[in-house]
């Protein structure tokens, strides 16, 4: 969507020759728009909210925050991979619906008498994976913009969920062990969060230490060059969407487990947490920038903001407005130092 004229090409080369002081300054400048700025913002939020309502800093509430963070955290890993290569994946809400519904109907529930155990997980995750694969193949092979394909996949996933749901009664989890799992604690942290943290680690490894992860970054930076350098660009593209689909499926299962019953709208609103979180974290929508850690911090920022506003007694009507305002301030603050007459921003 974006092609940015990089001004820091020559500057970067010059920086190599210059010594200590200049590169230190550059490091601080880059840190300010990345993790350091984000961490500072997080600390400020936490301090302010703790003053507004002492309950905010209680152990229960922090556990609650970690519980709420888990689903968007899983999603943002997939979203970051896709955005890093300059594409976008709008399909998460649909994939979550389809996978969540498939999982609960195959697990012990009030409606079907089926319990496939582990197979329920595999089938639901497979559904997410195949929806992601479908998006990736249509995008990479048929050259349809990812925005549109994933918009279509959103509806397709939602349609599958609606068909699975049918006209019957609401399926609720009957297995206590499964229903309690997400809130259960290990080492003081909820299981949901452990799962999400595992996914984040997986995302970090892929993004930093595999050909796929580095390749996606290269595609986002300059696709023609990546292609002419002999990178299997289409394979990487399909891979990114497949992972995003798989993680969408996992998020759908987790969200269904957290809710305790199946819903076609299980993913409602998740898209507008995941993408802003990645963007606030500094993952440029044009691709080639950003990282898993920053996106994860972005998720924490948004969820803590949401949680803190509720505890501070802010009318829920104002929440989307405050969200929007913070998003605006964050992106403008990041983009401000890089303005230039010749810069192209879309």
């Amino acid at each position: 969507m974006t092609s940015v004229m990089h001004e820091d090409g020559p500057r970067g080369a010059a920086g190599m020759k210059r010594n200590g002081n200049a590169s230190m300054r550059r490091l601080i400048a880059e840190g300010a728009k990345g993790p350091i700025g984000l961490v500072a913002a997080l600390v400020v939020l936490i301090v302010v909210f703790s003053f507004l309502n002492p309950r905010f800093a209680s152990i229960e509430n922090l556990q609650n925050v970690l519980f709420q963070v888990s689903v968007p955290l899983i999603l943002v890993v997939g979203a970051t991979l896709v955005i890093q290569m300059g594409s976008i994946d709008l399909s998460v809400e649909g994939i979550m619906g389809a996978a969540g519904m498939a999982w609960i109907l195959l697990s012990p529930n009030t409606r079907t008498m089926i319990d496939l155990g582990m197979w329920a997980w595999l089938i639901a995750l497979g559904l997410g994976l195949s929806l992601g694969l479908m998006t990736g193949v249509i995008y990479a092979k048929l050259k349809v913009p990812s925005f549109v394909v994933s918009l279509g996949t959103w509806y397709v996933g939602l349609g599958i969920a609606i068909l699975l749901y049918g006209n019957n009664s609401l399926p609720s989890l009957t297995s206590d062990a499964l229903a309690r799992w997400p809130t259960g604690l290990t080492l003081g942290l909820p299981h949901s969060f452990w799962l999400a943290a595992g996914v984040l680690l997986f995302g970090l490894l892929i993004s930093n230490y595999t050909n796929l992860g580095r390749g996606l970054m290269a595609i986002g930076n300059n696709e023609p060059i990546a292609r002419t350098s002999g990178m299997p660009v289409n394979v990487y593209k399909i891979g990114a969407f497949a992972i995003a689909g798989l993680l969408g499926g996992l998020a759908g299962i987790l969200a269904t487990m957290q809710l305790g019953s199946g819903s076609t709208d299980i993913g409602f609103g998740q898209l507008f947490v995941g993408i802003p979180a990645a963007v606030i974290g500094g993952t440029a929508l044009g691709g080639g920038e950003g990282g898993m850690t920053r996106s994860a911090l972005g998720v924490f920022l948004l969820i803590i903001l949401n949680n803190g506003l509720v505890l501070a007694g802010v009318d829920p009507d104002y929440q989307s407005g405050v969200f929007g305002l913070i998003l605006l301030i964050a992106i403008i603050a990041v983009a401000w130092p890089e303005r230039g007459r010749l810069k192209v921003a879309k």
Partner: protein
């Protein structure tokens, strides 16, 4: 890919007079696939539905399709103008809904004057989007996502989370919906008029050509002294204005407005309609007249699914597959090799 026929035709044109060649070239350009595809797709769906269920081809079907297409069309027209400059406006449907609430609140007291004032205000909101985009150079996707949130809150707060009924002067707005020419409500005709106007703007005016230039190659446009900031601001202002008309269409149809009522789900259909209408998502290509067919197609797909016997539950699935297939058929792949 769209100009696949070029090579043999150029050879042929060599031994003919220049004029004939020029005319042929123009004809070929007019007939290029992404120009004729949107109406073709619409009429193909219409034909299939007509064979399955002839009732949908009569005044009844036309009235249903155009009524539900009207707000989608108006939102999509603004969106296609913004997409044409290479940006995207995620806040336009929210502007429309906020507008609908403002219309419902003010029309009982001030009538026509209120309509004009609200339209001006909404155009300004769109322009503010454009100004922020042009001067802070943030990505439009994230920027308009932010304004979307703010406008949602504005809609909730101004309406007090309730449905606002147009008590007085009700006929003034509902007339836009009830007056029908050829079974098509006035709201849709407004959309058609706007489409023709925007098409002329893009085709014949410097302002319009500047917008397309910015969308095609912004660096090139800046270096050629095209006022790129002004072009973006105008495109977003147009989007705000068109969304305002969509808000008017919503109030006309429902006689009321609320933050979660009719028209609260226009964003994605609007984008889909613009894309099905042959607008390129990477900018530099838009044909507002084709967006009319895009909006008709998008509004018609659920109706077609029903007419073809798909159950209500399969609607979403059919809709998703349709969007992918239609855009795969109509998308223009001629602009560079990079598709994002």
């Amino acid at each position: 890919m769209t100009h696949r026929a070029d090579t043999p035709a150029t050879v042929e044109a060599l031994d003919r007079p220049d004029k004939v060649a020029a005319t042929l070239a123009r004809l070929r350009r007019m007939a290029s696939w992404h120009i004729i595809a949107p109406p073709l797709v619409f009429f193909a769906i219409l034909l299939v539905v007509g064979i399955a269920n002839p009732a949908y081809l009569g005044p009844f079907g036309i009235s249903i399709a155009t009524t539900s297409a009207a707000p989608i069309l108006l939102v999509a027209l603004g969106q296609s103008m913004v997409l044409n400059t290479g940006s995207i406006d995620l806040s336009n449907a929210a502007i429309g809904l906020f507008g609908a609430i403002l219309f419902a609140l003010t029309i009982p007291e001030a009538g026509i004057l209120a309509m004009i004032a609200v339209l001006v205000a909404l155009t300004l909101i769109g322009a503010v989007n454009g100004v922020i985009l042009a001067y802070t150079q943030v990505p439009s996707f994230a920027l308009t996502l932010g304004t979307l949130g703010i406008l949602q809150t504005a809609a909730l707060v101004t309406s007090g989370s309730e449905t606002i009924y147009v008590s007085e002067n009700r006929d003034l707005v509902t007339a836009l919906h009830t007056i029908k020419t050829l079974s098509v409500p006035l709201t849709f005709w407004i959309g058609v008029l706007a489409a023709i106007f925007f098409w002329a703007l893009l085709r014949f005016t410097i302002v319009g050509q500047n917008m397309t230039a910015v969308g095609k190659n912004e660096s090139g446009a800046i270096l050629s002294a095209v006022p790129n900031r002004r072009a973006k601001i105008i495109a977003f202002a147009i989007s705000g204005f068109a969304s305002g008309l969509a808000g008017l269409a919503i109030v006309a149809q429902a006689g009321s407005a609320s933050a979660s009522g009719l028209g609260s789900n226009l964003l994605l259909p609007g984008i889909a309609a613009a894309l099905v209408g042959g607008t390129s998502i990477s900018g530099g290509q838009a044909n507002p007249i084709n967006v009319v067919f895009g909006a008709l197609t998008v509004a018609f797909v659920p109706i077609a699914a029903q007419a073809l016997g798909f159950g209500a539950q399969a609607q979403s699935l059919v809709y998703g597959v349709f969007i992918i297939v239609i855009v795969a058929l109509t998308t223009s792949r001629s602009r560079g090799s990079v598709i994002k």
